[in-house]
């Protein structure tokens, strides 16, 4: 492969790739992101390959395994070009029909099209589907068109043109100025202005400087960074190289968590291919600018996603945070000026360079510009990744894009910002989503997870879940976080088991206040958000647990009771056979009975009782 030595050679290569591609030739794009792979995408790919080979169509039809376009709920996703017919929920058995009907004859396979659950209206193309129609897909929109394992796909769509523009026409100061004017804020959660971060790293004295991509996406419920790194790694890499040029760095790192094996693989492949093309390494595009990147796999530690902890991990140490009064843009990795940004932040950079800061700034709200990818998950009909302009309301995201609440229960609220965020109650859903509005409600943007919860989720239990999560992820270096979380967990456990005291709420608030003030890093300072926001918005649930010993959501095991309605029970023995405690026996009268003294309230009987029967009663009777 020829290393590119000039902007002309890059343009020639791009034209050459484009000219070889026939836009009219049928192309089967199959999502090969982790979500679809879990739903069987691999067998769908194989079925297409086999069938097309069997029918001798290899020259006429192209198959592409692409990045994740976001609609994971309906995987496996298959798009048939040139028309762009969008099939959802495809299984290997559907493949012959798709080839025969759609590819060869141009007909539609009706049952594989998206159908509006209410109106019954079918959608043929991507933008007919409500899930996509209301999005603004600047970052993940290209995923379905790109094979992340092939740099040519990225180049064909104009990839690395921003890099060329920067290297051949802009000084580092001009690049920083453009990013500053775009008002891009860090997408990892903090929302710090990216341009300002770059500027202070550029100005900081020192020969050696570093740039780092943070793909240690530890927030449970967030997976946008995974989708970008897996699905379009070159867009992140291009942003990274531009950042390196802007601050004067020659060495960069991509820190990916090992829980994302496909992201590690695709990022590594992207680096190799970029090097072969002369877009990375020595003398990039013949300009004399040298820059190379190393991949570092995270070893499974939530706190290591914190910027200073991540730098410790890169140095081969335990991933614990450092004191924050030292700015990493001045003294970061190995004590040198360092810029660390999130995956999505870097992916925005080529867009800003190509379209200009003004265009980027025209999208969004007063203080949050551009688009943001959210992971919309939990009890919502259309789960997946959604990219919307900043400022769209939570209600629009959940109802217009997400298609409303799944199941029969009512909406309780949404949890945003991962373990550092809070819970926003259903009545505040008109809130426009941006950095400041979410903070005003006691939550935060975080990396962008929106977890929809319904009445089955107990607010106390959810707070306890996050506190427990952070308890095991706290590095233990500073006392407020290490001890504060443990004491909060103890109190929440007591409340959940019906042992809560009236003074507990005040104690929780006092601990929270202290942790906010005195913790070393953001993990401890924001760890209190799930507790404080649930107390603020769902106080009556805490009171029900403490005063009435009752769990309104029927979720806290110690406060629920299972019994069998003798009128309904058909004595099928299913529950008795599956009860792990042997707590269920058959009464002489031909129905099952639960021995309450043996019952551990695991709920297996409730799950296993046939849907047509539903004889198990689950209740939280409360006691004085």
């Amino acid at each position: 492969m020829v290393r590119l030595r000039s902007i002309e050679q890059l343009q020639e290569l791009r034209s050459e790739i484009q000219s070889k591609r026939d836009a009219a030739k049928p192309l089967v794009a199959i999502c090969a992101g982790t979500g679809c792979l879990a739903l069987g995408a691999r067998s769908v790919v194989k079925a297409f390959q086999d069938y097309i080979q069997e029918k001798d169509l290899e020259d006429q039809v192209e198959i592409k395994e692409t990045g994740c376009p976001g609609f994971c709920e309906k995987g496996t996703l298959v798009v048939i070009y040139p028309k762009g017919i969008y099939y959802i929920g495809v299984h290997q058995e559907d493949v012959p029909e798709i080839v025969e009907k759609t590819i060869l004859k141009g007909d539609l396979v009706d049952r594989l099209l998206y159908r509006d659950p209410e109106t019954g209206e079918r959608a043929v193309l991507e933008n007919d589907i409500p899930f996509y129609k209301h999005q603004m897909r600047h970052l993940i929109g290209k995923n379905i068109k790109i094979d992340p394992k092939n740099i040519d796909d990225y180049l064909a769509l104009g990839g690395y043109s921003a890099l060329a523009r920067v290297l051949f026409g802009m000084s580092p100061d001009e690049v920083i100025d453009e990013v500053k004017r775009s008002e891009l804020r860090g997408r990892g959660g903090g929302g710090f202005p990216t341009g300002r971060k770059w500027e202070s790293a550029r100005k900081a004295p020192g020969e050696l400087k570093y740039v780092i991509v943070n793909c240690d996406e530890g927030d449970p419920g967030a997976f946008m960074d995974r989708a970008l790194m897996e699905g379009n790694p070159h867009s992140v890499l291009e942003g990274l190289i531009i950042a390196a040029y802007a601050i004067g760095s020659h060495s960069g790192f991509i820190y990916v968590r090992m829980e994302y094996p496909l992201a590690v693989e695709n990022a590594a492949l992207a680096l190799c291919q970029a090097r072969e093309r002369g877009l990375l390494g020595e003398n990039i595009l013949g300009t004399g600018f040298d820059f190379d990147v190393t991949i570092h796999r995270g070893a499974g530690s939530f706190v290591s996603g914190e910027s200073t902890a991540l730098m410790n991990a890169l140095e081969g140490r335990v991933g614990e945070p450092r004191p924050k009064y030292v700015h990493t843009s001045e003294k970061g990795l190995w004590g040198q000026p360092t810029v660390l940004n999130n995956v999505e932040t870097f992916a925005n950079v080529p867009l800003i360079i190509n379209q200009g800061a003004e265009r980027f700034r025209s999208i969004g709200t007063e203080r949050s510009k551009g688009t943001k990818i959210f992971s919309l998950v939990g009890k919502v009909n259309n789960t997946g990744l959604v990219e919307v302009p900043m400022g769209m309301s939570l209600a629009d995201i959940i109802y217009k894009i997400g298609g409303g609440i799944s199941g029969k229960k009512g909406l309780k609220g949404v949890q945003t910002g991962g373990p550092s965020g809070g819970i926003i109650p259903a009545q505040s859903l008109d809130t426009p989503v941006d950095f400041d509005e979410l903070a005003r409600l006691g939550s935060m943007m975080g990396s962008g997870s929106i977890i929809v919860i319904d009445e089955d989720t107990c607010a106390v239990d959810l707070a306890r879940y996050f506190v427990d999560f952070l308890c095991s992820e706290s590095c233990g270096k500073c006392l407020p976080c290490r001890e504060g979380l443990k004491r909060m967990r103890e109190i929440l456990d007591a409340i959940k088991s019906g042992q809560g005291k009236k003074s507990d709420i005040q104690t929780l608030q006092d601990i929270a206040e202290l942790m906010k003030e005195a913790s070393l890093c953001a993990l401890g300072r924001t760890a209190v958000n799930p507790v404080l926001s649930t107390i603020r918005h769902f106080r009556e649930e805490y009171d029900a647990h403490i005063e009435e010993r009752r769990c309104p959501a029927l979720s806290c095991k110690s406060l629920v009771k299972y019994s069998i309605d003798p009128e309904i029970c058909i004595a099928c023995d299913l529950c008795q056979e599956n009860c792990p405690q042997g707590a269920i026996y058959k009464s002489g009268e031909g129905f099952q009975v639960i021995d309450q003294s043996k019952c551990i309230r695991c709920g297996i009987c409730f799950e296993i009782c046939p849907k047509k029967v539903r004889a198990i009663v689950k209740e939280s009777p409360g006691r004085a």
Binding site: G35, L39, E259, R297, G418, I451, T457, G476, E607
Partner: protein
């Protein structure tokens, strides 16, 4: 840190049906340890040295080395730690601290199949606790534990990033989406 581990161990103990189980398990693991050590001395030792040599002299790639060893051998034995310490000239206390800090590195031998039940928020609100409970019940092990026949090791993980299809359970490299507590058994029966 130490305290945290104690807590976790405690939990494991509680999850065991009784102390006898625990003792049997320890005996099993000791035996396994010895067996592993013998094997190490032969074939694996050579491979271990080879892998260490790739990183020699670069202290910063210690975590990467540990991850490589983890994926090659499934766990890191005391002997391996000692070997790394000597060859990389890093105090073994430091290596132990790192190895015990990171979740992905195991200092105990693990079973033939690794099960990860995702306990991320999205899976959690869709009932992953029930999946974990059911798996623990079926295998008769607690989280982090290995079955007596060394067939399965069960772990809870924080988020696997397939939140849209939760609850998710991963066995070895196979992702199982939309798991219900009733099909846990079916999934487990695919592995022998």
């Amino acid at each position: 840190m130490q305290d945290m581990q104690d807590m976790q161990d405690m939990q494991n103990v509680q999850n065991m049906q009784n102390m006898q189980d625990m003792q049997n398990m320890r005996d099993m693991q000791d035996m396994q340890d010895m067996q592993n050590m013998q094997n190490m001395q032969n074939m694996e030792h050579k491979r271990l040295v080879e892998m260490i040599e790739q990183h020699e002299g670069r202290e910063e790639s210690l975590i990467q080395l540990l991850l490589d060893l983890q994926s090659e051998f499934n766990w890191i034995s005391k002997d391996a730690l000692r070997e790394i310490s000597e060859r990389m000239r890093i105090p073994s206390s430091r290596i132990y601290r790192i190895a015990s800090f990171y979740e992905a590195i195991s200092l105990k031998p693990v079973g033939k199949h690794k099960i990860s039940v995702c306990m991320g928020t999205a899976c959690q609100v869709r009932g992953s606790q029930k999946i974990l409970d059911r798996t623990e019940f079926k295998l008769n092990v607690g989280q982090g534990g290995t079955t007596r026949d060394m067939k399965f090791t069960l772990k809870r993980v924080n988020c696997l990033g397939c939140c849209a299809i939760g609850p998710v359970m991963v066995v070895d490299e196979d992702y199982h989406g939309r798991v219900t507590s009733n099909n846990v058994e079916g999934i487990l029966s695919k592995y022998d």
